[in-house]
Symmetry: D3
Subunit: 236 residues, 6 copies
C-alpha cells in the first residue's frame, strides 16, 4: 500500500557515515533512503551572553537546504535575505532536541553548533538532521574528552527522531516525500535512547485524529527510534 | 501547590468579549487570567496565488505582542526589522489550527486573516490566541452568511487550545507565567469541539517525559478544551 | 456641517483610563471618540550611548498600529520588515514632544520609553498618543519619586496635542477620519500646560493656507489643548 | 551677534546653477552659503499604482547626503541598509511641498522624481533641496511643454523654503550649522510665490516658544521666501 | 617548496563525479584535492524580464559555502540576512564565465541556474565551481537535447578555471589554502576548451607584480586549464 | 572609428580639482570626459577590529552613484535597502587598489575611508574613482604628516587605473559609455606610478580574447596609467 512497497512499520535504509568534513570537530553524512543530510558539530570556547558565568554550556543548531535538494529549485535563503518560517522552526527543534541529551553543566562554558545541511530531500529531513546531528555532537564531545577539556561525559543519552503520520487511513512510520505530501496528519517524535520522550509534534492539515490513532503512532515511533539508536551505535 | 492556588486541573478565569474593534469583520478580547489578547478577523476577496482558480479559500493568522505586554519591555519587532522565530512559529500554529475547523471549499476563494495581538501576557498566549481567534473567525463568517456571500456554513466545528505541562512533578493545565517559566515539560493541545485532535506539541527543556505522563496531560487537555468550547458558545 | 455634527471648536469625547497594563511602570488607555491608544511607559536604568556620563536622562517613544485598527487591514510592520515613513515620523514627534515637558537633568541617567499602540483608529492618533503618552510618563515618574529614585520632580509641565485643519473651507479642531481624509490643510499643535508651544506642524496637500487661517487654527488649538490638559489632570 | 556676522533677517549668499547633470530632464546645483545640493528631476511615463487611470500625475522626491558632506563622516545609508528616520521625513516633506506648486491634472499620468543630494552641508539642507528641487522640476516641465507632451503648464506657482529659529534669544532666518546646532527652537516654512503657506514646521528641542515669537518667525520667513523666489526667477 | 610538496605546475588530484543529486537536471561533485563542491544545474522555462521576447536564454549561477566548510565556522549567510561581497562577486564570475561557453540563441528562452555549494574548502573554490558547474550545465543541456527541447547544441565549448599566484616568490598553479592565505599575488584564469581567454583576474594584496610575472602565470594557467578540460571530458 | 573620434590610444580630457569638500581631510572632483566623481578621504583614529594592536592601519573605500548620474534613473541604493553586487564589487576593488600604494605600518593604527560618489557617469567610473581616490588619500595623508601624526610618509607610490577593451575588433583605451555598452571584452588595469601591476581584470561578455590581444591591451594600459599619474602630479 505504501508507494515504496514498505510495510507500515518499516523504516527506509539507514546509513550514517562519520567524519565526512575534515575541518569540523564532529561530522557525518546521514542517509534515510534518498534523504541525505550533512551534519557538522563546531565547538566554540564561549557561550551566548545569557550564559556567561553560569558554568553552563550550550548546544544550538542551524538548518539549511541546498536550493536543488528538492524536486523543483527553491530560492536560496541567503539570496532572499531571510530564513523561512519553516527553517527557523526546524532549527529551533533540532537544537532543543539535542540539548535534551546533554548535561550542560558537564559541558562547561562552551557552545557546540550543529549545522544540518540537506543535500537531497525526500521527506523526513528534520528527523534525519536530529539523528545525524547527535552523531556529529557525540564525535565532537569525544574530542573534548580525549583532549581532557571536559572531564565527565556531557552526553547523557542518545537522541533520535522519527516521523509518523496517517497515510491513506493507516498509521505509517518514516514517511517519504510521496507519503508526506499527501498525509493529512503527520509529525515527529524525538526520544532518548532510554525511550523517554523529548518532543512530540503531531499536526493535522486538512484532517484530524483521534486519541487512539495517537497511541498507534507512538507505538510506531518507539520502535523506529530504537532502530535509529542502534544505527547511531553502529556508526560510532 | 500551584503558585495561584489552583487545583491541577483548574483553568484560570475565562472571559471572551466579542466586537471590541469596530472596523473588523469579527473581533474579540479574550482574557485567560491576566493574559489578554485582541483577536480580529479580516476578510479579503482574494486568496494567496497558490489557490487561484481552485475554488478554495484560506485562513491565515498573524501574532504580535505589545512591547510592554511582558514584565520587562521586549524590543518591538517592527523596529528590529523582523519577527522572531518564536513569533513565526506561533502564527503558523494559529493559522494551521484554525484551518482545521474550516471547510475551505464552502468558504470559497477568499482569505480571512486572523490577527492576534497580546496586550498583556501571563503565559498561554498562543492558546488564548487560538481560542479567541476562532471566535473572531466565527463572527466574520457569520457576516458572510448574513450577506449571502457564502451559502453553506464554512465553520465545521469549534477549535480551542490549552497548554499543559509538568510543574513541580505534577501534570497541570493552563500554566500561568510563574509555572511556565520553570516547567521542564510543557506544550499545547489543540482540539475540535468534537474532541478530535488537531495538533499536539509537547516539548521538554531540561527534562523528559514518559508515555504515562503524556497520557495524563492529554486527559487534562480534553477537559480543558471542553471548558473553552463552552466559553466560546457563551460568548456568541 | 461636520460629519459628526460637532461645532467647529468641539473636541470629541475624551476618556483616559490609567493603569491598564499591569507590567508597565505607567500606562493608560486614551480614547478620543473612536480613536483608542494604549500608552505604556517603561523605565530602564541606562541611557543611549550619546548620554553616558552626562547626568542627563532620555525620553523616547515608539508608535504602532494593530493591523485592523483601520477600516481596511494594514500590513503588519513586523511582517513587512520595516516601519513606514509615517510611523517613523510620528514616533520621532511623540518623543520630541514629551521631552519638552521633562527636566532631563532631574530625571538622571535613565531612559523612559513610551510605547503608543493604536487599537482603533479614527483620526488624530498621533495627538492621542502624545496626550495619553504624557499620562503614562507622569505615572512612571511618580513611581520613581515614590521609590526615592529621583528627588526633584523631572516632569515640569503637561504636554498635550491636538489636530486642527481646514475642512470644507472652515477651521476645525480634532478632526475625525471622515474629516481628515478630505481636509486639504491639516496639522498638529503640541503645547505645554502653560500654553507655550512645543511643536507646530501645519501641512497642505492639494491646497494652501493664508496667515490669517493659520491664526484661526492656533486659536482653536489653544482652547483644545487646555481641555486636554484638564482631562489629564482628571485622570491622575 | 550671529556667528557669521549676518543681521537677523539676512539670508546667506544664494546661487542656483541650472543644467549641471547632462542626463537629467531638469537639474541644478543650489548653494546657500556653504550648503550645496545637487537637484535633478527625472520624468517617467507612468505613475504609482494608486493613480492608474485617474488622469493625475505625481511628483515625488528622494533625499540623500554624501557620507562626508558633514563635519564628521556619516555612515552611508546604502551600506547600513536603510534610510534614517531623518532622511525619510525630509524626502516626504520635499515631495509634499513640490506637489503644492503643481496642477497634477495638467501634468497627466506621469511621474517626476526629484532627487536632492547634499554634496556639502552647513545647515538648511532640506530648505535648499526644496528651493533647488523646484528649479529642476520647472526645467523638466519646460521640456515636456516644448515637446508638446503637456499642453497647459502644470507648474502653477513657485515653491520655496526657508528655515527660521530662535538663536540666543533672537528670531533669525536661514540658520547655518553653527546656529542650527544650538538653537532650541527652529523649523521650516514652505511658501508659494504668492506668499500662501504650504507647510509650517516649528519644533522645540530643549525649549518652547510663544505665539508672539511664532509671529516674528513668520515675518522673517515671508521676506526670506520672497528673496528665494527672486533667485529662482533669476536662474531660469 | 610548496607545502603539499607539489611542483610549481602541478594541479591537485581532480575528481568529477556526475549525477550526485537525483532531482537536478544536471549535477556533479567536483574535488580538487580537499576542495569539494556540489554543482547542480536547474532548468526553468522562463528567462529574466530583460530577455522576454528576445529569443535568447540565460545562464546564471549562485554560490554558497556550508558554515563548516572552512577551518573555523563561518556565519551562515541565510542567518545573517545577506550574502557577503565575496559571495556576490564569486557568483557573478561563475555566471559570466559559463555564459561564455553557451550560444544563448540556441538555448532559446529558458534559464539554467547553476548552484555551486562548497562542502569542504581548501583554496580554489570558485575555480572548482566553474569547472564543475560546466559539467552540470553540460548534463542539463544534454537532457534538453535528448528531449528535443533544443535542436542545435547550445554548448559551444568547455569552460574551465584555474587559480595561479606568486607564492614564496615563485609562480604556482592551483593554490591550496596553505598557499592562498599567504600569497601576495593571486588570481584566476577562465578559459575555453580552445584556449581562448574568458576572464583574467589577477590581484595583489600587500604586493605587486611585473608584466613578466603576468606572462609566467598565464603559461601555468594555459596548461592547467587544458588538464581540467580533459578531466571534464573523462567525467562525461 | 571611435564614436568620440578619438584615436585608439587617446584618453579623454582629464581634470582633477582638489579640495572640493571643505569638511573632508582630503577631497577632489575628478573628470574623465563626462564622467565626474567626487572623492573624499576621511581619517578615523581607530581601525577595524581585526587590526587592533597590530600597529597597522587600514584604507577602505565606498562607492555610490547619484540616481540620475546615468541616462535613465537608477533606483537609490539607500531606498532599495542594499548595495547591488556591482557596487560591492567596485568598492572592494577601489579599497584593495589604494592599499597597494600604502605602507600600512607607517600609517599606524588609523583608518582612512575613501568615498567615491559618481555625479555623472559616462563609462569608466571605477577607474576614475581609483585615480581620484588616490588624490584624496594623498591629501589626507599630507594633513597627517603636517600635523606630525605620522612621521614617515605612508604613501609609497601613486595608484592609477584605466579601462581597456576590444571595441569593433580594435583594442581601445578609456572606453566611454557608447563604447563600453557594446564592447564584448573589457576590463581594468590598476598600476603603481612605477608601472608595476596591482590588479588586472579582463572580462568577456559575449566574446572571448586571445593572449595576443591581452598583450595589446596591456600596452595601452601602461601608457594610459602613465598619463593619469602625470595628471595626479599636476593636481597636487
Amino acid at each position: 500500500m505504501r508507494p515504496s512497497g514498505r510495510n507500515l512499520s518499516d523504516l527506509r535504509a539507514i546509513s550514517i557515515e562519520p567524519g565526512v568534513v575534515k575541518h569540523a570537530e564532529g561530522s557525518c553524512l546521514i542517509r534515510m533512503g534518498d534523504t541525505q543530510v550533512i551534519c557538522t558539530a563546531s565547538i566554540e570556547e564561549r557561550t551566548p551572553p545569557f550564559l556567561r558565568n553560569t558554568g553552563l554550556g550550550w548546544v544550538t543548531a542551524e538548518y539549511g537546504m541546498l536550493p536543488r535538494a528538492t524536486n523543483t529549485r527553491n530560492r536560496r535563503e541567503a539570496a532572499s535575505g531571510k530564513q523561512t518560517g519553516r527553517t527557523v522552526e526546524i532549527q529551533r527543534l533540532i537544537g532543543r532536541s539535542l540539548r535534551a541529551g546533554i548535561d550542560r553543566s558537564a559541558l562547561g562554558e562552551r557552545q557546540i553548533t550543529v549545522d544540518c545541511d540537506v543535500i537531497q530531500a525526500d521527506g523526513g529531513t528534520r528527523c534525519a538532521a536530529i539523528t545525524g546531528g547527535w552523531v556529529a555532537l557525540r564525535l565532537a564531545v569525544n574530542k573534548l574528552l580525549k583532549a581532557g577539556d571536559v572531564v565527565s561525559d556531557p552526553v547523557v543519552d542518545h537522541v533520535a527522531a522519527i516521523s509518523c503520520g496517517i497515510y491513506a487511513g493507516q498509521p505509517v512510520v518514516d514517511l517519504d516525500y510521496a507519503e508526506d505530501s499527501v498525509a493529512g496528519v503527520d509529525g515527529n517524535f524525538i526520544m532518548l535512547g532510554s525511550g523517554r520522550l523529548v518532543e512530540v509534534q503531531m499536526s493535522a492539515e486538512g484532517a484530524t485524529f483521534s486519541r487512539g490513532e495517537m497511541g498507534q503512532l507512538m507505538d510506531l515511533a518507539e520502535a523506529g527510534c530504537a532502530e535509529l539508536v542502534a544505527a547511531q551505535r553502529a556508526a560510532l
